[in-house]
């Protein structure tokens, strides 16, 4: 008997019961669609985390104030004011391979112009800030080194702040008041949109860090600094040099804990994406369970079907089917159910991912690996869960089967 005949027989048997065929497929369809959709959402989130961290800038090193832990209590970075402006200048000037650096000091406060005012984050930054983050200007330009050195009252606005204060008019040359001090707007940043947490990256104003220390925070320390190395190869050495320099400057003894943290962008990226990867795995595993349940559904239906079709099997055996023919027929039926369901499920999963992107604005990514894996898994489920019922059918005695009521 030719294998094509087995296909014909199996397809005819499935066609005879379209309702049952459809419902059995539904389990696999939902399972595969869930796997594809969930993994797409997880992978998309991971990609977005990675791209948002990439915005910190290439080959960058974050230096954060505060010890990683103190007496078992984790303070979190920026919790202790240990990075001073002298530290910043030493890092910037003394360490070879450092091409750019900017400190980070922040204050949430009001920015006003005319009769308009908005609450926003005012960032004290250096002249390298925009270059490190590769952030372009729509209009105007950057702080000069002199602006920073003299604590000039100049400001660069994010797109949201500029729109809220000045509407469509150009803000360049206008005066904004930050905590009652007037600042001249010298630049307008290009809009960046939302980040993955849904917060508006354009809702900020930049002032020279020197101005921020004097007029906004009244302190002499930074929560963090961003340092850019000349090349990827130099990142590790720059990190070591920064740590050594800071330990020396902070007079930390041998064995004493650091009162700062140095992390490369790469490390931060790995930490953040590993969380996202765990989430993807978790989502995928939950969806995988539903795929497994779909497979058990196939086995259930095939087992019922073997009992229900006992006489049919008897007739087939009587007219000359061999045991292997019956086995293959039932196996092909199970595989057609699972693979058919798998194909529809892949389509549905991609549809779900796209719908989630369109309706909720989440980043999703359907990876070819997840499609291949889901497809292979559904086929394997068909063979695995189809085999037992098929063997049961093939083992029937023709006389018993023909007599079965």
């Amino acid at each position: 008997m030719k294998f094509s005949a087995t296909w014909m027989i199996a397809l005819r048997a499935l066609r005879r019961n379209p309702m049952r065929t459809g419902l059995t497929m539904l389990g696999i369809i939902i399972g595969v669609a869930a796997v594809i959709g969930m993994v797409a959402i997880g992978t998309g989130a991971k990609e977005q985390v990675a791209s948002s961290i990439a915005q910190i800038g290439q080959n960058t090193v974050m230096v954060m104030s505060g010890a990683p832990s103190r007496g078992g209590v984790r303070g979190g970075w920026g919790s202790l004011p240990t990075l001073t402006r002298q530290d910043y200048e030493a890092i910037r000037n003394e360490i070879p391979g450092v091409i750019r650096a900017t400190p980070d000091v922040r204050k949430n406060t009001q920015v006003a112009a005319g009769n308009q005012n908005v609450n926003t984050t005012v960032n004290g930054a250096g002249e390298d800030y925009a270059d490190i983050r590769a952030w372009d200007f729509v209009e105007g330009g950057n702080f000069s080194a002199t602006d920073v050195r003299t604590a000039a009252k100049v400001a660069i606005l994010g797109n949201t702040v500029a729109t809220n204060l000045f509407g469509d008019a150009s803000p360049i040359g206008q005066i904004v008041r930050i905590q009652n001090a007037p600042y001249t707007v010298i630049g307008l940043l290009k809009p960046k949109g939302m980040n993955m947490m849904g917060s508006d990256q354009d809702d900020l104003a930049l002032v020279p860090w020197s101005s921020a220390l004097v007029r906004l925070t009244g302190t002499d320390s930074f929560r963090s600094m961003t340092v850019q190395a000349e090349s990827a190869e130099q990142v590790d050495r720059v990190m070591e040099d920064i740590a050594a320099l800071l330990r020396q400057r902070h007079r930390l003894r041998e064995g004493a804990e650091d009162d700062f943290q140095v992390r490369s962008q790469q490390e931060i990226m790995e930490m953040a994406t590993s969380t996202a990867r765990t989430m993807t795995l978790l989502l995928g595993a939950i969806a995988g369970v539903s795929l497994l349940v779909g497979g058990i559904g196939i086995m259930n239906i095939m087992l019922v079907s073997v009992t229900e079709r006992t006489r049919e099997i008897g007739v087939r055996l009587a007219v000359g089917a061999r045991g292997i023919d019956i086995l293959l027929q039932f196996l092909v039926e199970a595989v057609v159910l699972s693979v058919g369901g798998g194909l529809v499920g892949i389509g549905l999963g991609i549809g779900i991912a796209q719908a989630v992107s369109a309706k909720l604005g989440w980043n999703t990514l359907v990876s070819p690996e997840s499609v291949t894996l889901a497809f292979a898994f559904s086929a394997a489920i068909g063979i695995f869960f189809g085999f037992y019922p098929a063997r049961k059918a093939a083992g029937l005695d023709p006389i018993e089967a023909l007599r079965y009521e």
Binding site: M8, V315, L317, A318, V319, G320, L402
Partner: protein, 251 residues
């Protein structure tokens, strides 16, 4: 009788082991059925006639004795070889028709061809199945499902299915058991017509009226053949049908 034997049984026995008790269903049957015969196997239930049919139909193997089908000894064949014998040399007709539901008459008839070792093309399948349906006068209903056919028509589809692989022997197990008198006559007319063209037919029945359309009557009791003789006053079903009162003719 110089025609070649289609069935030759020598001292065939079948013992079923049910728990402690061994049941001897067939006790030493020797029988020869030659080409072109039309034999009825009769007997009360428990007489062993169904077991004998299963043995002749290669659905079961004898415990003892030898069996030649169409000149080849089949007692020693493997399970798969027996499947091939059933497919190529035997045609089965059952009491309950045993057609596949929700499947057209044509596809039902195609079934044995699908299991044929020769492997036929789709066109060949269709051509041969239609030819078999033609033989039982149902070519016009090839597309109908069993639920759309009367009992007699369903049994004719089943006969077409039995004929489609051009078997050496047609085995019928109570083929008229589920049918009314008139439809039974129609089925017997088909069997007689097939037999006239040379088909060898072995039929199990418990109705003496039906056995009278055959040429030979074999009666079993307690696993043995107690009588084996030609039918004396053989009836012609086609002629009977012509005279029979037809409910459709009634005013």
């Amino acid at each position: 009788m110089d025609a070649k034997p289609v069935i030759r049984l020598e001292g065939v026995e079948k013992v079923y082991q049910t728990g402690e008790v061994a049941v001897k269903a067939v006790r030493g049957v020797s029988l020869t059925v030659r080409r072109g015969e039309f034999a009825a196997v009769m007997g009360a239930s428990g007489s062993g006639k169904s077991t004998l049919m299963n043995l002749i139909g290669c659905l079961d193997r004898p415990t003892a004795g030898r069996y030649w089908l169409d000149g080849e000894e089949v007692g020693e064949l493997t399970k798969n070889e027996l499947s091939q014998v059933r497919n190529q040399r035997l045609g089965f007709v059952f009491q309950g028709f045993n057609l596949l539901a929700r499947t057209s008459a044509l596809e039902n008839v195609e079934l044995p061809l699908l299991y044929s070792p020769h492997g036929h093309g789709r066109r060949e399948l269709r051509r041969r199945s239609l030819a078999a349906l033609e033989q039982v006068g149902l070519a016009a209903r090839a597309g109908h499902h069993p639920s759309q056919l009367s009992g007699g028509q369903q049994q004719r589809v089943a006969i077409a299915r039995a004929l489609v692989n051009e078997p050496a022997l047609l085995l019928a197990d109570e083929p008229t058991g589920n049918l009314d008198t008139r439809t039974s006559l129609e089925i017997m007319a088909i069997f007689q017509a097939l037999n006239e063209k040379g088909m060898t037919i072995l039929m199990v029945t418990h109705e003496p009226d039906i056995a009278r359309y055959c040429r030979r009557e074999i009666v079993m009791r307690d696993g043995r053949i107690i009588r084996d003789e030609p039918v004396a006053d053989r009836l012609a079903a086609a002629a009977e049908l012509a005279h029979a009162w037809n409910p459709e003719d009634a005013p």
